[in-house]
């Protein structure tokens, strides 16, 4: 009875809500795909590990009982043991690896190999973890059109899928605030709406990590597990973070998310195209955040939220490039940023039509 108290019972958020995906097709064919909520299976290395172990142990017991003395048992457990030993070895090496910033190119490829192999051992599937560096002469910036956002939330869905965010805690990097016309007041904004949008007399404003030029979160991290890359993206080394959450206290924009438990992503939903500093699978007790979809942006693509937005309210680009759309917005529209007085220099602007 006492033990029950240890396990926090959480209220499930109406799980059978239809998740609709609106495409950006021509307006006449507003097709809505219904999606059944997929059964959430434990994932992430810790979870997988536990699961396979159980299955293996059960299997061994069974076979040992039925085929006692048969050579099969031995051969079976030999391969299993071999994998288990390899996994142990890999985890050991992973535990002692360096901060990503201090790694040589060789060390980077080694750790990527280990991560890919670990995933293969645990799931039988392959992932591709990139270590692509910043593109030269690029500084990413983002603009959000508050006249255009209609609160459809397609960006949030795309973000969660792209970045392998924990499904069980419904982790989301983006928050959409529904605000009443006539004021820009977060205190009275509705962050938990679920009704037909856009609601009459309201506008919508999205917040996420602003990738500040002067990021307070980076400054406070005691172990340098978070930093600003040369292209301006603020990233986290998930294997270096000790989980002190000082950065979360220092962020004025609610841009950071913590893994309070082992993140769960059903294997069939895992995005296998990953980046070391981006959407690779996280573990419990580490910080994560929006990375402008580093695995996409560093190969010229737009972040998932930009691609998913059905209204074109999200503009992304290189603010160093005078011919980029984002620069045109900054130079020709009336733009503003939030909490500018804190001197954080967000690279995330808002504008109106």
């Amino acid at each position: 009875m006492l033990f029950d108290l240890f396990f926090k019972t959480r209220k499930p958020v109406e799980e059978d809500l239809p998740q609709t995906e609106g495409g950006c097709g021509s307006g006449s064919c507003g097709c809505k795909k219904k999606k059944e909520p997929a059964p959430v299976e434990p994932d992430g290395y810790d979870m997988k590990m536990g699961k396979t172990m159980n299955r293996r142990a059960a299997f061994r017991q069974l076979t040992a009982g039925l085929l006692a003395g048969a050579g099969m048992v031995q051969s079976c457990s030999i391969t299993a043991d071999k994998e288990k030993r390899e996994e142990g070895q890999l985890k050991w090496e992973e535990y002692f690896k360096k901060n990503y910033r201090l790694m040589s190119d060789e060390e980077k490829s080694k750790t990527v190999e280990r991560l890919e192999r670990l995933y293969e051992i645990n799931t039988g599937k392959t992932i591709n973890v990139s270590t692509n560096g910043a593109v030269e002469n690029v500084l990413y910036g983002y603009a959000f059109n508050i006249s255009k956002c209609q609160g459809y939330m397609d960006c949030v869905n795309a973000c969660v899928k792209e970045n392998n965010q924990d499904r069980s805690s419904q982790m989301q990097y983006i928050r959409i605030h529904e605000m009443e016309n006539g004021q820009l007041n977060f205190d009275d904004a509705d962050d938990n709406y679920f009704h037909e949008v856009p609601a009459e007399g309201h506008f919508y404003l999205g917040t996420q990590c602003y990738h500040c030029e002067n990021p307070p979160c980076v400054k406070v991290c005691p172990v340098g597990a978070t930093w600003k890359e040369d292209d301006g993206i603020v990233v986290v080394d998930y294997d270096w973070c000790i989980g002190c959450r000082y950065c979360q206290a220092a962020c004025p924009y609610d841009g950071r998310r913590f893994n309070w438990q082992t993140p769960e992503v059903p294997e069939e939903e895992v995005n296998h195209t990953q980046h070391y500093l981006g959407n690779r699978l996280r573990k419990k007790g580490v910080m994560e955040k929006c990375t402008f979809c580093i695995q996409r942006s560093r190969s010229g693509k737009n972040p998932a939220c930009v691609e998913a937005c059905p209204t074109g309210a999200r503009i992304f680009g290189n603010i160093l490039d005078p011919n980029s759309e984002i620069r045109w917005v900054l130079e020709n529209k009336k733009v503003f940023r939030l909490k500018e007085d804190l001197g954080t220099e967000p690279k995330f602007w808002y504008y109106m039509d």
């Binding site: 108290l5 240890f6 396990f7 926090k8 535990y95 901060n99 910033r101 201090l102 805690s169 928050r175 605030h177 007041n185 977060f186 205190d187 009275d188 904004a189 962050d191 917040t207 307070p216 400054k219 406070v220 991290c221 005691p222 172990v223 340098g224 597990a225 294997d239 270096w240 973070c241 000790i242 989980g243 002190c244 959450r245 000082y246 979360q248 206290a249 220092a250 962020c251 004025p252 924009y253 609610d254 950071r256 998310r257 913590f258 893994n259 309070w260 438990q261 082992t262 573990k283 419990k284 007790g285 580490v286 910080m287 804190l342 001197g343």
Partner: protein, 402 residues
């Protein structure tokens, strides 16, 4: 070397011997520690999800206790300073106790930080050279240095003094006095650094105040000596260790002045927040009156303030302060008041309302409470051990036998 081994052996002996009450006390503490360890195991297994913390209120009971205990540790300096530097002999008996308290409090501090980590196994990343130490940018890196340094100083000085007294020798002042001098500044340092850890965050206007550092010192120098007064009263009643009245009176004076200053600073803060409230006063409004129907901390902070005012009132009147029963009462009230005010009353409202005005309240979970109790039990356990070893040596009961 041989002497040192014998010293450890004798120390162990006097720590394990004791009357029935002593064994019950230590047994209870051990049980609480085990319970805390079990709760911590659950937290390790399932993650920090078993605590009451969330992305909105990402620090809770652990960091609150950490903050408070840094103050208790720093307060040991209030005894050291007059004794060694101002040659005030009256406090000398209290010094070893104070330093023992500092050691216990520091270990508790480190424990509270460790249990708060999402990945305690990766804590080695904090070790300079071996890991990646973001110094001097991160105030937490500063805190790691000053806390461990302070722990080192407070372990070595009493150890050195006790070791010499154990051999019946007088310790060499030229050796330990510089250490004492450093520890004086260091004590102020640990608490200022801890205050800067919060005050340096413009994201949290409730903490982003230049008064936070001085306020931390004032509250520490009232809660710390208050606790020491209680402990000394207990020790002189139940052991042969003689602690003169003047010692307690001097300590009481320190406590009184610090409590008065603390109260003045509190008033000054309240004035700033409530005379012309701005958007930055929202946290204070939440703390003292509740916001949008959420008022979890209101009863706590008002009890803390009432206790604080009552205790400071008692201490302010000489006639009351000089009666030891009143003094003990005032010290107890003050200790509790500052624990609430500086712990939950400071850390939690810093996060409420959140960055975008959302109000998510925080209540510690059972696991969190058990871990916290476990760590306090560990602190009490360590402190008891230290005192149990130190007193017989100081009394000359335990001596090196050649």
């Amino acid at each position: 070397m041989q002497v040192f081994v014998q010293f450890i052996k004798d120390g162990f002996q006097s720590a394990t011997k004791g009357n029935f009450t002593y064994h019950v006390w230590m047994g209870t503490l051990t049980a609480l520690m085990l319970l805390g360890a079990f709760a911590f195991y659950i937290q390790l297994r399932d993650g920090l999800i078993v605590t009451g913390m969330s992305d909105k209120v990402s620090w809770g009971l652990y960091i609150s206790n950490f903050t408070f205990l840094v103050g208790v540790a720093a307060a040991a300096v209030m005894l050291v300073l007059p004794t060694y530097i101002l040659k005030d002999i009256n406090l000398k008996q209290a010094v070893l106790i104070g330093e023992g308290l500092a050691v216990a409090a520091l270990i508790m501090c480190l424990a509270f930080v460790t249990v708060d980590l999402g990945g305690p196994a990766r804590a080695w990343h904090l070790i300079p050279k071996l890991g990646y130490f973001n110094w001097p940018n991160s105030m937490l890196a500063w805190d790691v240095i000053v806390l461990n340094g302070y722990l080192f100083i407070n372990v070595t000085i009493p150890l050195y003094i006790l070791f010499y007294h154990y051999q019946g020798k007088e310790p060499n002042k030229n050796i330990y006095l510089p250490g004492v001098l450093i520890s004086v500044f260091w004590a102020v340092g640990i608490h200022m650094v801890t205050a800067f850890l919060y005050a340096g965050l413009p994201a949290r206007p409730f903490w982003n105040s230049s008064l936070l550092g001085p306020r931390f010192l004032a509250s520490a120098f009232s809660a710390g000596p208050a606790l020491i007064i209680l402990i000394l009263s207990f020790i002189r009643r139940y052991t042969d260790y003689r602690i003169p009245n003047t010692t307690l009176r001097k300590l009481a004076l320190v406590t009184t002045v610090a409590a008065q200053i603390n109260l003045i600073m509190l008033i000054s803060e309240l004035f700033k927040e409530f005379y012309s409230p701005t958007h930055h006063s929202q946290s204070a409004v939440y703390l003292f009156f509740g916001l949008h129907g959420k008022s979890g901390l209101v009863p706590w902070i008002w009890s803390a303030i009432s206790l604080n005012v009552i205790a400071t009132g008692i201490l302010t009147f000489h006639t009351l302060r000089n009666q030891f029963r009143w003094l003990a009462l005032a010290c107890g009230l003050l200790f509790v008041a500052i624990w609430i005010e500086k712990g939950m009353g400071l850390i939690v409202p810093g996060f409420i309302p959140g960055s975008w005005g959302d109000i998510v309240e925080y209540t510690p979970s059972l696991v969190e409470i058990l871990v916290t109790i476990g760590i306090w039990a560990m602190g009490a356990f360590i402190f008891t051990l230290l005192v149990k070893v130190a007193i017989p040596i100081e009394l000359g009961k335990v001596r090196y036998q050649r």
